[in-house]
Amino acid sequence: MDNKNTMFQRFWLPAALFVVALILPFVISEFWVHVFNEILILGLFAAAFNLVFGYMGQLSFGQAAYYGIGAYTTGLLMVKLHWPLFACLPVSMITAGIGALILGYFCVKLRGIYFAILTMAFGQLVFFIIFQWYSFTGGDNGLQGINPPEWLFKAIPYYYFSLTVVTIGMIILYFITESPFGYTLRAIRDNTERTEFIGINVQRYMLINFVISGMFCGLAGALWGPFNRSVAPDLCSWQHSGHPVFMAVMGGPHHFLGPMIGSVIFTFLNAFVTGFTEYWPLVSGMVIIIVVLVMPGGVFGIIKEKGYFCPRDAGDVKNE
């Protein structure tokens, strides 16, 4: 019985969100289907980023680099080699993972603000390579004509395709966060020193996690290209790296679903506000200020504080 209660407590919210996501296209216009597609893709991006931020305790300002590598891998494979989309997704994860392995090797030697700055510097490095390499990436023109297969061409089929891929991605990420590896990340976040003294090679685990995060950022990027029909270098820019930071902070970095909820708020507001003003960054800035001042743990932080329900968070298991 206890087990059933625990399972219910743990999974009712993601299950409810999934059902809502399934029904949505039947009750909203095509424009909003596009918006929710974006929410899903950016939500996966933010959840992957949160492996590094919420679970490992390090702020990366360069995850857009791996998102961009994933997007460009799919774009290049589809446009230049005419690969099928399905084959591009795993390859994009691998290339983004290789990028994260090479750059992360240096980043995980640092902590705190130095880690954040180096991730941002490497992110900008990727941005400038893509920006300058006209013959291969199209430079600042980007790549156009990344068309999904015909049966995914319309908004609703692509939405369900994204929903499937994102759901699978989120389930894998959830398993990782609940695994001994996931708890080792929490341990590193909580007390790096003690973690070393129980015999764990902290740098190695940080690097593995950085690569996993990069791979799933790459998967999100791979979904973005065919969704948008094009990719551009600013997908890798440091401003774009800020989006998952906003989302995780808004939703709550200490809850697995926090970044996805943050993506809902951020992307929805973006779509809504840009409908009547061009000053969206001003509005998003104000929202961030309010969140940080009023609910520093994000939406899930305030929900937990008020005791409305007790979802598990990134440092908390009450039922063993």
Partner: protein, 250 residues
């Protein structure tokens, strides 16, 4: 090297810039012993622990564990070969529950922390509960470790160290912040572990009753120099030890 010697340091020295905090310490610890390093504040006791466990880099000399040189090894490597420690200020995972703290250390010892797909909550249940029972923390297993009392945090840190199944356990002031009852319980546990599993224990302590009640060998450090060594009775009678630490006859 004698097989019975579990820890040995040869001319171990440490300086921070121009300050020499440990000078030519030649120390040997026999397997299966409970030993203490004593000395006034600033004598170099914690620094000695820090050098043995890789927390600080060694400036001069060598450290040997079971005959193998481990000077300046990485901390996790030293922990893996069988040396663990508890710190003076409890060093735990404040946002994890007591249960998760202990389980984390057990999973690390079992080399299962790279497992990505089995939920952690399914693993090491019995071992975790047993160790919580042994260290008297069963009642707090669902409590977030950060809100435990100082004494319970010390017990938890001891549990984290024991979970690693070490051959040599270094305890830096293990009873600091504990009530006299908790102090007695903790030291009795240490003694029991020493007797039952043959765990070698080296500790520092300021409480004279703990030092003379439990240590079989005492070493006195003063201003980074090892000035006296022997059984508690020998050290008690040693004039140099009396002068620099004990102050007056006990």
């Amino acid at each position: 090297m004698n097989d019975d010697i579990i820890l040995q340091t040869d001319h171990l020295s440490k300086s921070f810039f121009k300050y020499q905090v440990l000078t030519d310490v030649n120390y040997q610890l026999t397997r299966g012993m409970i030993a203490a390093i004593i000395g006034p504040n600033g004598a170099g006791k914690s620094t000695f622990f820090n050098l043995v466990t890789g927390y600080h880099t060694v400036s001069g000399g060598s450290v040997f564990f079971r005959g193998q040189e481990i000077t300046n090894w990485a901390r996790h490597k030293i922990a893996r070969i069988g040396i663990t420690r508890a710190f003076q200020v409890s060093n735990i995972y404040p946002k994890l529950t007591t249960y998760e703290n202990v389980r984390q250390s057990i999973l690390a010892q079992q080399k299962r922390t790279l497992n990505l797909f089995i939920p952690a909550e399914r693993l090491a249940k019995k071992e975790t509960l047993d160790l919580l029972e042994t260290t008297g923390l069963s009642g707090f297993r669902n409590t977030e470790a950060g809100i435990l009392s100082q004494g319970d945090k010390k017990k938890l840190e001891l549990a984290l160290a024991l979970a690693s199944k070490p051959d040599l356990l270094l305890l830096d002031e293990p009873t600091a912040g504990m009530s006299s009852e908790e102090t007695h319980e903790t030291m009795e546990l240490v003694k029991r572990l020493n007797k039952e599993v043959g765990l070698t224990i080296l500790f520092t302590e300021h409480d004279i009753s703990v030092i003379f009640g439990y240590a079989q060998k005492l070493s006195v450090l003063h201003q980074g120099v090892l000035v006296a060594e022997g059984t508690p009775e020998e050290v008690r009678q040693n004039k140099e030890a009396q002068a620099c630490y004990l102050g007056e006859e006990i």
